[in-house]
Symmetry: C2
Subunit: 124 residues, 2 copies
DNA sequence: GTCGTTGCAAAGCCTTTGCAGGGAA
DNA sequence: TTCCCTGCAAAGGCTTTGCAACGAC
């Protein structure tokens, strides 16, 4: 059976507070402010557990590496601003997959990553 | 100045022969058949060089890891079959990015990854 | 003869694992 | 009291780097 620990609660709290795509280093940083002894290995183990529980989603972001976000969000894509280096959610889905998937193929999931300049950075 | 070496020619040849998304281990394997002494570090160094030269493109495939393909191909997406584990090209672009990108944002590039079952695997 | 390139080994990241002690239930 | 969880350190993958020898030009 799963046990409630201060460490796991801290990690969960970080996701609730930040509500965005987080890098492991960020989770460790923010989590350490809540539970100072928080260890890297503990973070990895808990992320794995939260993934398996379906509470988190892991995203292998091109050129940024591994990121995590809460799984309860509705389907959306991400935009990476190369200038300010932020990643933001883009609500909705812009993929018309039936246009390019050959007959007989079954699409189970898809990932879309956009990058460029956000409004703030492009405006200057 | 760049020099022609047997090792670099071998790596280039592998990409021309295979003409598909390759993992580093595959590049090393196939390349070693051409130049048996071919070393891992040499592969990494040459891939980096070919990337900078714009001859190759690096792709961080979700859940598959780093892959490389030739850069001269026209824009396309990839489909990963979870049953046979192959990755295939899907010609064309199915993304209607203007549908979800807010005003003021400038999209410079995008990556789309589809996964599911290919026709062969879905047919059974 | 230069100096870019290679093979080898070591070092660097990021992530996982073994282990003994600690703490939730 | 049980046994899941944690911290620490070591070990594993993958990728990069230092260095001396090699070889393209």
């Amino acid at each position: 059976m799963k046990r409630q620990t201060a460490q796991r609660r801290a990690i969960v709290q970080v996701f609730k507070q930040q509500d965005r795509l987080l890098a492991i280093s960020e989770i460790l940083d923010y989590g350490s402010r809540i539970v100072p002894s928080l260890n890297q290995a503990t973070v990895y183990r808990n992320l794995k557990q939260l993934l398996e529980a379906g509470w988190l989603k892991q995203i292998n972001y091109p050129s940024l590496g591994t990121r995590y976000e809460r799984a309860h969000k509705i389907h959306h894509h991400h935009f990476h601003c190369k200038a300010c280096n932020r990643v933001m959610d883009l609500p909705g889905c812009a993929l018309k997959q039936e246009q390019i998937v050959p007959d007989g193929f079954v699409v189970q999931s898809h990932d879309v990553f956009l990058s460029g300049l956000c409004d703030r950075c492009a405006g200057r």
